[in-house]
Symmetry: D2
Subunit: 134 residues, 4 copies
Amino acid sequence: MFSTCIHPRFSDTDALGHINNTVIPVWFLEAREPVLRLFSPTLDMQSAALAVVRIEIDYLAETRFGSDVEIRTRVARLGNSSLQLAQEVWQDDHMTARGLATLVNFDPQARRATPIPESVRQALSGHMQTVQEG
Amino acid sequence: MFSTCIHPRFSDTDALGHINNTVIPVWFLEAREPVLRLFSPTLDMQSAALAVVRIEIDYLAETRFGSDVEIRTRVARLGNSSLQLAQEVWQDDHMTARGLATLVNFDPQARRATPIPESVRQALSGHMQTVQEG
Amino acid sequence: MFSTCIHPRFSDTDALGHINNTVIPVWFLEAREPVLRLFSPTLDMQSAALAVVRIEIDYLAETRFGSDVEIRTRVARLGNSSLQLAQEVWQDDHMTARGLATLVNFDPQARRATPIPESVRQALSGHMQTVQEG
Amino acid sequence: MFSTCIHPRFSDTDALGHINNTVIPVWFLEAREPVLRLFSPTLDMQSAALAVVRIEIDYLAETRFGSDVEIRTRVARLGNSSLQLAQEVWQDDHMTARGLATLVNFDPQARRATPIPESVRQALSGHMQTVQEG
């Protein structure tokens, strides 16, 4: 599991008094950065990119300003050139949102999907979602 | 069908040179405003709100800066107190993303779901997704 | 004067119930796009860019969600390779914010400031701030 | 001096490959949170708010994705009901932007400016900009 701490910004709130729902995808993207670093340790966008092809998010409760948030990211599925990440927003011991992101390992030069390298695959398999964790 | 014109902002782009994937949920939220106005013509957040409980987005192609976008929003399902909207991003005659949003008619005072009023239901049914359109 | 109409987004609001102050620079950037088009009609970032070197913003009143906004942009000063734009946010006949942006005509290939072309200078001079307007 | 660590988000970049200039005001707002906590330790927006009346930002260099940023915030001026904060963005030992924010201690109930309490004033005076620091 990858764990990312997020400090909600006041500009993330909306007039209903809570974190706006469009901010959760931004946090999930930020929390996928350690996964991207497995593909490209220096985050060099010319050599490697993870293209998002699908996201799903369930909003379970309001997320508040004024209290830090933990994003938990696990690998839900590992394909040949694609992978699926399960992500959760935790605040004050409650899960306030959860999502699934389907990503494709994308070669920016060739502009097409490319197989996940074996070394990355092995690193990712250590972050697989398990029955105990889920 | 509700149609909303969006002018992509340069700040919506990212270092890959296209509109960042987290911007699509922001555009979809903006394009749901005419639906919200059916519930609350003055957009008064104290009297009515549509709580988002789930979103799904499929990213089909890159969305570019420099060309206007049309968001098409249709009613996919009408429940008792909830509804589902199907939304599409169109740019230069191509659909670049499509999504589903599940919303609940929420009473901000009582803080709970409440049935969709009959008059709103009738107005919404005029925007239902049809076989011809879909 | 360049005039740009902006439709405030619900995600632009914050928990104080109004448009968050960090959104005004985003709107001002969007409203500078017609100026950028004078330098690069196709908005091709490889051939021309206006680098922002300084902004100032005075917040005069709250800007609200639910009512369109007009951004008025005038040329306040025209230098050799730089220019200064005066920008105003108008909503319901009130000016809610005003700002100054100092921009430099930047050659992305050479990575340095470059003189404003004479044809652009003439086009810009038609949008100068005048005593009557100011 | 208040020090705030910011982790740039990929969604903070733009098509020029760097952090978009509109993100700096967002970071500066986030970095003013410890100042706001002096006025309202629980960040309760009903009891206290710091209204922004003016910002100025000088952009000195490009800020990059992939490297953490430190925001340094000092008190530049302490008035009766207002204060001015000097803020700097530091990345890899370089200052990439600096700004000034003028804030007013605002009573949300009475909806008007109100004097800075003596205890807050004393706490703030420990964060004054000094010749040695600047």
